[in-house]
């Protein structure tokens, strides 16, 4: 029962145990699937089918993306940051990046007039009148841009104006990286 005879090295056991645990935790952090800004990142992009802005009799749907890496941009004609990012979207469209738009919370005539005035970077824009597609994509403001790979998986979700920095720093690397799909 005497504590005095306990050998000194025993007092180092707790530190050793913590070190082993910490090693496992470190490993655990590495194994953890990529940090998800949105629960949707690395998930399949939700299906949708909405009327085309330019021609409401036609539908724009997720199936239109098939086989390509696309940007999906949530926009409207009256949001200032949307205007801010617009020139860069035009630039991306010019170099051949397919961009699909979701026009949300907007008036059809005003939206078309605005695109006429500043140029249309979109392959097609879908009109989300009810807002349920925006909800399915977890959108909480405009503009918001999704990078979706040929398999239909969301690689990046970016909130706020898309800039060359974001494109080079966040989107381009994500196209190379593999998504840890579980």
């Amino acid at each position: 029962m005497s504590m005095e005879r306990t050998k000194a090295w025993r007092y180092a056991i707790p530190a050793a145990v913590l070190a082993v645990l910490a090693a496992f935790f470190f490993r655990g952090l590495q194994l953890d699937p990529a940090y998800n800004e949105s629960p949707l990142v690395c998930q399949a992009a939700p299906e949708f089918s909405l009327p085309d802005l330019a021609d409401p009799s036609r539908r724009v749907s997720r199936a239109d993306f098939a086989g390509r890496t696309v940007l999906l941009n949530v926009w409207n004609s009256w949001c200032a940051p949307c205007r801010e990012e617009h020139p860069f979207l035009l630039e991306l469209a010019r170099i051949g990046v397919p961009i699909y738009g979701i026009n949300w919370d907007d008036d059809r005539d005003k939206a078309l007039a605005w695109l006429n005035e500043v140029g249309d970077p979109f392959v097609a824009s879908a009109v989300d009148e009810v807002g349920d597609v925006a909800i399915a994509y977890g959108v909480y403001g405009y503009p918001e841009t999704f990078l979706i790979n040929p398999e239909g998986t969301i690689l990046v979700k970016h909130f706020g104006p898309l800039t060359p920095e974001i494109w080079a720093g966040k989107m381009a690397p994500a196209m190379e990286a593999e998504c840890a799909v579980d």
Partner: protein, 657 residues
């Protein structure tokens, strides 16, 4: 502008915590009183600025300032006001701020209450608390700033998780965090003792009330969490061994061991290095829990957003704070000499057994919790372990603990005759076994082996807790019980009641999952249930299907229960709100889940005998803790007890300067 002030307040708090960490510690080693005297004002200033930051975040929530990202993610303009306030801690960033606020509060309390203790010792305690605080505040600012702006800002927020829109969530997290974070105080005392290289009974006397204080908040916090889970997500379950539940339960087990080990150190001046080890471990488990919950390494329904950067930061903090303490322990623990030995039959032996059993339970539950991590890291095949494992490894050490508890309470310090002890407690032993055999037949008509074991243990613990108060009551000449003794008896009575309640609830609950239509009637454990009505109702931020059930017993009306299935449109979440008819001795719970077509609904009906006593028992335990922590020997700190020398080589008057 106002949120920026909040961030500024946080930055100032970090600066003050760094001062509190560095200067008094430096002063304590160089003997510079001026530096040591900085500890208290720094602690007070830190409290003011953390409090200010917290108030500003609360203001942002109450005024729907969705330009603050954290507010936009966790609130909504139609959220009821009370939940706008509790949403402050409904997400990772704000709950970290709550963590810091609790730590600042404990630190302030220690700063004020320690004025009669040697300045050198207090400086080290506050210095260590400063290190912890600086770490958490930096973590908040660098990885999880709650004041980050969101520009352009959204028209409305995405709402608080509906699970958290509940009265139980108003007080559960603050209570839990008070307990969790309170473990930093005994930790700081332990590290201060290691830094000094000496530890005496005064040290234990100072540490013990703080430990019991943190322990009692943790007890209440865990009980509230269990109660919340029971009616909000549990459909009648009250403990799920979820990693996040375990994260709070592990420090509790360790703190319980610590409280008992401190008793031995205070009374007999032994178990010193062991007590210090428990104090460091209890807080380490708190930090570990924080890591598990916030890093995403282990999946749980409670977990916050996953972020390896945050995980790395907390892992670093864990290594710095706990790792530092354990390394210090490795070098210094040998110098904490025991002041004597003890006999195999003595209070010391029983408390040693208590400690060993509680630590065994902690280790086994920790292994079970971290198991998925080990499996992943070592690439082993998945074998699922869940409730059966945890129930087994918890009961394994707890049953002998319950059996020994009654004897331990009545054993004398140092040495006593085993025969005397056995004879003294013969009647509670006989009575508890007899009652455990008979009572289930009287109330429920059946009995089983596990019920007898559980009930016998519970009744035995409860009865033996009453021996001392009853004995004193019957003998008017006897010395009155001290407050601490009352505390011990009441807390252990709570343990006994808890075991009884858990046994009965586990053994005699009736659970039915049925598909029912309006008009249908059926029996649940002697109660008649009738599905009377189903209607649509509208709440402030949800719509719901509400069913009405009438509960009757022997043809007499008992209650009308209205469970709801709520749809929160902003988050697109569906919640089942169960309805409960509660009396002290049984609950009848009904939850409505999905429509299964043809007008039928999946209905979960539960009969839960004695389930309320699970939480009442926890409150009784906490009450016992409150009495023990406020015993007169802790409340009159200036009176030095005869034969006890000051903890460190500084005259006591120094502290008052």
């Amino acid at each position: 502008m106002i949120p920026e002030l909040g961030q500024f307040a946080l930055v100032l708090a970090v600066c003050l915590s760094l001062c509190q960490a560095a200067l008094p510690l430096a002063g304590s080693f160089t003997g510079r009183t001026d530096l040591m005297l900085l500890a208290r004002p720094a602690a007070a200033g830190q409290f003011v600025f953390v409090g200010l930051a917290f108030a500003i975040l609360a203001y942002a929530f109450l005024t729907d300032d969705f330009s603050v990202l954290f507010v936009a993610q966790n609130s909504n303009s139609v959220l009821p006001t009370v939940y706008k306030f509790t949403a402050v801690w409904g997400g990772h960033e704000g709950s970290l701020l709550l963590w810091s606020l609790m730590l600042a509060s404990w630190t302030l309390a220690v700063a004020f209450a320690s004025r009669s203790q040697p300045l050198e010792f207090t400086s080290r305690v506050l210095g260590v608390l400063g290190i912890v605080s600086a770490g958490i505040l930096l973590f908040t600012l660098l990885t999880s700033n709650p004041f980050t702006r969101l520009l352009p800002y959204p028209v409305d927020g995405v709402d608080l998780n509906p699970l958290l829109q509940d009265p139980g969530m108003v007080i559960h997290p603050p209570m839990l965090y008070l307990g969790y974070v309170g473990m930093a105080v005994p930790f700081a005392f332990a590290v201060a003792a290691l830094l000094a290289g000496r530890l005496d009974r005064n040290w234990a006397r100072w540490t013990r009330p703080w430990t019991i204080g943190a322990w009692l908040f943790l007890t209440c916090g865990i009980a509230l969490g269990s109660w919340w889970a029971y009616y909000e997500v549990g459909w009648g379950g009250w403990w799920f061994w979820d990693p996040v539940e375990n994260a709070s339960f592990l420090p509790w087990l360790m703190a319980t061991a610590l409280v008992h080990s401190l008793a031995v150190t205070e009374r007999r001046g032994i178990f010193k290095s062991w007590t210090v080890l428990l104090a460091i471990s209890a807080f380490t488990l708190s930090l570990l829990g924080t890591f598990l919950v916030r890093s995403g390494v282990i999946q749980s329904i409670h977990s916050f957003a996953n972020d390896p950067a945050r995980g790395l930061f907390i892992l670093g903090l864990l290594l710095l704070i706990s790792g530092g303490a354990f390394v210090l322990y490795a070098f210094r623990a040998a110098s904490l000499e025991s002041e004597g030995g003890f006999h195999p039959v003595s209070r010391e032996s029983f408390l040693l057994a208590n400690n060993v059993l509680l630590v065994v339970a902690t280790v086994l539950i920790l292994l079970g919790t971290l198991y998925p991590l080990f499996i992943d890291a070592l690439n082993l095949p998945e074998v699922s372990i869940g409730e059966p494992y945890f129930n087994f490894v918890f009961l394994l050490p707890m049953l002998p603990l319950g059996a020994l508890l009654g004897y331990g309470m009545h054993a004398a310090w140092q040495k006593m005759s085993g025969m005397v002890l056995l004879r003294q407690l013969l009647w509670p032993l006989v009575l508890s076994v007899a009652l455990a055999l008979v009572l289930p037949f009287i109330f429920f008509g059946t009995n089983s082996f596990m019920t007898v074991v559980g009930l016998a243990a519970g009744i035995w613990v409860a009865l033996s807790s009453l021996v001392m108060p009853l004995g004193r009551a019957l003998n008017s000449d006897a010395v009155r019980l001290t407050r601490a003794q009352w505390g011990m008896c009441i807390a252990h009575l709570g343990v006994g009641l808890f075991i009884i309640a858990a046994t009965v609830t586990s053994g005699y609950s009736v659970e039915q999952d049925v598909a029912a239509r309006v008009g249908q009637r059926w029996q649940l454990a002697g109660y008649e249930l009738e599905f009377r009505d189903l209607r649509q109702i509208e709440g402030q931020n949800f719509t719901a299907d509400e069913a009405e059930f009438e509960v009757r017993k022997d043809g007499r009306y008992v209650a009308a229960l209205r469970p709801q299935r709520r749809d929160y449109p902003v988050r697109e979440v569906v919640m089942t709100e169960s309805a409960i008819d509660a009396t002290a001795f049984r609950d009848v719970l009904i939850a409505l889940s999905d429509s299964v077509g043809d007008g039928a609904w999946a209905v979960h009906a539960r009969y839960k005998p004695l389930v309320r006593f699970i939480w009442i028992a926890c409150v009784i335990m906490a009450l016992g803790g409150l009495l023990a922590a406020t015993d007169s020997r802790y409340m009159r700190p200036k009176e030095l007890r005869a034969g006890v020398k000051p903890a460190v080589g500084v005259p006591l008057e120094e502290g008052g300067r």
